[in-house]
């Protein structure tokens, strides 16, 4: 992963204005039946940028992030990921999905496969990697997330934090250019949250483009380049962590912050 990157910090004190656009959303709207879940969402995320999406429950954070790898289908507007526009064309969808890794709130590991096979399955069958190579890579990734000794267990035998780290390794095994996190720590006990956040921080430092939905304010303050605040399907405010947490512009942001801080 981007070894050439010589930056060792993330956060708003980085200058990314010259970086390429990785995710471009223009006026994205989505309805569930009559209910509008996304309302003209527009945002651009640069390469190597770490964006944290905040917002009250039901504000459309998951819906938006899931539109980006087409787990949900947007109905209006345009989404472009690394130069590929998401349309109904299956080939584009497959291409985007193999460049975008996703980590879910409920881990969603494959319970019938050992940890190592969870990680190697997609590289072998989607990336067409030779098995030996895929396994070496998987061991390296499991070391990176700190659990190489669990390779031959089944997911059901691991703790929640370990499972979530396997899920991160599984996503990284596809060598994605973008990682999406949808509340990766919300289903974890407090003592396990840190181990997952540490892995995510390390990932951010390595230069991965990341979009993270989370309620972990500490993580957002420390790692995020930008905060996007959503409410009722709209982007209400975009800002750096410093300004957003200390001096938000919008009324709704202030209300939200007063509730969670």
């Amino acid at each position: 992963m981007n070894e050439t990157n010589n930056e060792t910090s993330t956060g708003s004190n980085r200058d990314l204005s010259n970086a390429a656009d990785m995710i471009v959303c223009e006026n994205v709207s989505k309805w569930y039946g009559d209910f509008q879940a996304l309302d003209e969402v527009s945002a651009t995320i640069k390469e190597q940028e770490v964006v944290v999406v905040l917002g009250p429950s039901g504000s459309g954070k998951s819906t938006w992030i899931r539109c980006i790898n087409r787990l949900e289908q947007h109905q209006e507007g345009r989404i472009e990921v690394d130069g590929i526009e998401l349309t109904n064309d299956l080939r584009n969808i497959e291409k985007v999905r193999s460049e975008v890794g996703m980590v879910f709130q409920q881990f969603n590991l494959f319970p019938h496969l050992k940890v190592i096979d969870n990680v190697t399955l997609a590289p072998i069958w989607v990336r067409k990697k030779p098995k030996v190579e895929a396994q070496e890579q998987a061991i390296a990734l499991l070391e990176r997330v700190g659990i190489p000794e669990q390779a031959d267990k089944y997911p059901g035998q691991l703790s929640g934090g370990q499972q979530q780290r396997v899920a991160i390794a599984r996503a990284l095994a596809m060598e994605p250019r973008i990682m999406l996190f949808d509340e990766p720590t919300s289903a974890l006990d407090p003592e396990m949250i840190k181990e997952v956040l540490d892995v995510m921080k390390e990932l951010a430092l390595s230069g991965m483009t990341m979009m993270v939905v989370t309620h972990e304010v500490g993580f957002a303050k420390e790692v995020a380049d930008r905060i996007i605040f959503m409410d009722e399907g709209q982007i209400v405010e975009i800002g750096t962590p410093e300004t957003f947490f200390t001096d938000p512009v919008e009324e709704r942001s202030k209300l939200f912050l007063s509730q969670i801080l």
């Binding site: 497959e94 879910f104 969603n108 190697t120 997609a122 989607v126 067409k128 396994q135 390779a151 031959d152």
Partner: protein
Amino acid sequence: MSDFNVTGAEGTVSIKPPPETPKLPPRLWIKENLFSSPFNIFLTVASTGILLILGRGLLSFIFSHERQWGSTATNLRLLMTQAYPEEQYMRVWVCVGVIFTLTGLSMAVWNAGSRVALRRLGSFLLSTGVVIDILTLLAPFSSSATIIWLCVGTGISLFGGSLVKFSDEDKTMSVLTVTVIALAVAILSLWVVPYGHHSFVFERTPRSLAEAGTVALTTKLPWTIMLLIGIAAYFAGKAIREKVSQNVLRVSVLTIWFLAPPALLYLVLRDPDFDMGHVLNTDIPIFLVFAAVGAGLLFWLTRPTAGELGKVIAAITLLIGFGSFLTPMRMIIRILILLLAIFAISAPTFAGDTQTRRRYSLGWIGVSGVTCWLVTAINTPSTVEVPGSFFIGGVSLTLLIAIFTIVISFPLGILLALGRTSTMPIFRILCTWFIEFVRGIPLITILIFFSIMFPMFLPKEMEIGEVASIVIGYSLFSSAYLAENVRGGLQSVTRGQHEAADAVGMTTPQKTLFIVLPQALRVSIPPLVSHCIGVFKETSLLAIIGLFDILYIARNVIPNQTEFLGSVRENLLFVCLIYWILSYQMSKASQRLERRVGLGER
């Protein structure tokens, strides 16, 4: 799946055993469980009484002087294989031998068999002996027989009791050893105990002969050999297991299991009378052409970069396959084109490095080879002359139809279930209609239709045996039900699993094959097994359409023999016993399978 750091299927978790619940001594256990309250006492006494009365009734039925058990004993061969010619019987034993060999081999390869504590074995023997004693006292035996059986029962009890008393707390024995010992005792008894010599002797009247003495050599010798073969195969398997890699060994044994039924059926039992000229100048060239062209095509199609062109070519092959039904040509060519089309369409799913691609092409050569051989073998007349419409009957026919039906309807049922849950409306509607239609028709109607009418619908040059068309009909019927069981499993796979597979970029076939089906089938093991047991038992409907299955022989053939006029009930009881033994084995196997895949753990 992975090749390194294998530390046993269950991983390396070491679990501290839970504290043992103290075991009650028998007297206290009885007091606590059977005589704890007045109502409980009443229930215990009443149900014991009912059991005794039923047992007495059954025993007096079995041991009544009116029973002609000779009819079952003399006709055992008829019940097993119907009229397979005496002088060719070696073939049947070869088949049984192959199955025993494979069983022994598989048990070694899969490391089958748990261990049982000697104490538990002892208490089991103890209670068995007591049950035998009780039954002996209930049965209307002559006093000498009563004494013999009492001795046997008491002997077993004493042996079991001494095991319980004197063996160590944690001394165990492998279940396999126990089984082999039990089988060996049973087979040894054939040599020692004078069960009587039952047979038909055609020169005398009455033809049947039942005289005291041991069992005929033609029965006891082969069974002894079979047991030895099984044991030998087990140890051979153990020896091979040390040398060959697990995966290779398992895959090859599984392949042999799948090839065994058609091979035994068409090569050993029927002994096809090949017209070698025709085989050499037609069958083999056809196979070679398809094998070479197909392997080349598939090797090319599985290139990761084949892309759109690959899909187009696969679609064209499929079209040609269907189109081939419009023009006259050999059936085998049509079948091969269709098969190739299926392989071509699934090629992108299995694309990969050179090794994977080579394996896929080899897979095609294997499948097409087996298909060609099967078609040739089926169409070639048999050298074994057997009276009647089909060359084998009795238990063998029952098993044959059940096994083929189950093996065919499994993939078919899974495909139907996938079709019914697919997002493509054509498949969904077609599959739903098919399933609902088939489920709306009674099985017996389908069997009658396929045995009488189906052959008339075929094109003129095609012929199909009655048994083959019945298997087709029965498979269609069974697959509709099986599909519903699998669908239940498919629905139990959570949305999160689908999304996780989508998110790493798997295509729909990959997702189905690697993620959805394994989980769905695992959940559906219990209903699938009860479905299989149902398929096996319902083969008894074949009796109604006049096939010589075991029930038909027991009900209509034996009772009409001049020697055994009217001996229906004995044989029906025997048939019940056989059905029960086989079904019970299946359900035991399913319980083991469930434990093995850890269904309860999740």
